[in-house]
Symmetry: C4
Subunit: 190 residues, 4 copies
């Protein structure tokens, strides 16, 4: 089976999640700048989650360029990733509406952690199908970022209980790590 529909379905789900996020930005009743001020925490969480979903879409896109065929196991590993991503609008809203309180900020990180693990599992399932000597396996190499991220999320979640903004800073840091484009795959394609 080719990757066409898996890509189309994932594109649709991520596109919907990214736009559902914006539904959590409640339209204020007062037509004043001050009303936007109250939205700052919700808006910042929105931006962070938009970037995260963008990163996942981007990496998913890059990975699929090097994937030739899929099987039932890969389809489910992909749905598993989409499951954790589908909770992002919920955790984002909970964190933003509560002004980065400890528990919601930790739960936000737990969701990111599960998504990262699900992405790793998806990647493994594809490498198994493509073979250890495939272009994808070579492009991934030691996959340092993929291995460091879960550790950072765990640190971020733990920190959130004590100093939520420090936990948040870790999540922002991981996002920045991934914003650097994945040159491995782009050079493999070339």
């Amino acid at each position: 089976m080719t990757t066409g529909r898996l890509e189309a379905f994932s594109d649709a789900v991520i596109a919907i999640l990214i736009t559902i996020l914006v539904l959590e930005l409640e339209v204020p009743h007062e037509p004043e700048f001050a009303a936007l001020g109250d939205l700052v925490p919700v808006f910042s969480s929105y931006v962070l989650s938009f970037v995260y979903l963008g990163i996942y879409w981007n990496n998913h896109h890059h990975m699929m360029v090097l994937t030739e065929r899929v099987n039932g196991r890969i389809l489910w590993a992909n749905l598993h990733l989409l499951f954790w991503l589908s909770l992002v609008p919920f955790t984002t809203a909970w964190m933003g509406q509560n002004d980065f309180a400890a528990v919601p900020t930790a739960v936000y990180g737990v969701d990111l952690l599960f998504a990262a693990v699900a992405y790793f599992v998806l990647q493994r399932s594809i490498v198994v199908e493509e073979g250890a000597d495939s272009t994808l396996a070579a492009a991934l190499g030691r996959d340092l970022k993929g291995k460091v991220s879960p550790v950072l999320y765990i640190i971020g979640v733990s920190l959130s209980f004590a100093v939520p903004l420090a936990g948040l800073a870790i999540y922002v840091l991981v996002a920045l790590l991934w914003l650097v484009p994945d040159r491995r795959i782009e050079s493999s394609i070339a």
Copy 2:
């Protein structure tokens, strides 16, 4: 007519349904773990429906790989399936928000039953078009799971009126039956 647009449209509808489900998870006001506790019934129904929509997408995907052409009848059989699936967010929310009360749990099962029947009708329409000696017809074989599922749903619905959680257990059982990948089709493709 080729299957491209039917697949794209179905992908989009199922992707939207799967993400609309999450809109029913109301963001709690308190930033405490206890607030998540109240969401357990709604969240469990969410997970079950996510898995069901995943199964439908997966099976639809497998079936379409072996489908070469579609006609007007197939397009409508597909829309008919999407209709029953489109009610899943509604029945899921009703069941979850009422803590698996008898009537909503039964109605949830009735929706699953109609979706299963609609899937069966769609499959028949495709087999008729492809021919009894097509790869799809061979891959489906006796279609045991397809025939047993409606019976199990009817049992689940009936049980729901007496012991809702027993009805729910049947729905979970059917989902597990289908989670086992459909090797018939994957081996036919190979």
Copy 3:
């Protein structure tokens, strides 16, 4: 320019509209069958609009199979059609929540009328681009249904002010007319 993206965009918009419709079905608080009874008008409007959006998607799909290239004018004619379709969830909810009162039922028909006109305009723009001797022009023939529908909508809208259910009956009648598959195009493709 080929039709690929116009089809993908239209599929996505219609898929979203069809699923947004279901958001208007408010989840009742009581876990009783009686609660579903209250939903009957909303649910019936839902079914009617689902069928209408299905018809539009179906006809759009058939028409595009015979369309080879698009230009800027066609893209805008298509967006114009999508505009009137995008109002369907609004008019459906207004009609359903008000138990088929006169004004909302008439407005529902006005939206259907504009959508039908927009579809006609889109069809003309494509025939102009494809040429009067194209397969599409031949398949459409005199386009009787396309010409009768607006007349029927106008009758339905007028009737709605006096006897809303009679207006509604006309809308149902037009839907039934279109449910009969468009054999002209299917036989042209063959």
Copy 4:
């Protein structure tokens, strides 16, 4: 990397935004024409934003026809554009619900301004990748409309603080400028 998935993802996001807009049209409780009257400001903002999103989709579509390959930078430039577009339902609703008050009308224009800048950046990234002697670069020429629009938005935003409807008139004017089809690209394709 080819443009397929970037197009599919952008199509999905814009399609969802265009339909989310309609969710802001609150269904009135009274079944009277007068109830629609109250919706006029919200509805007019809806129409304007629908046209803007249609213009962006249309121009994006035209630009991508002349784009052969994408890289990580282009994917992010595209996500950046989608970010500003994703705020359109929010700014539209805020402006419409407050009857074109000064601040929301100015903020609406600021969002349009950022979207225009993001589109310009995306276009530049693609021209850099395609090369200065590419068909796209030739088709864009001096890109007068692209350079005049941000200036007009800034004028519109400034005017909004004094006379909101004058600001709005500028936004409408820019939309009209773009509604004129981009013949440069269509003739390049031909």
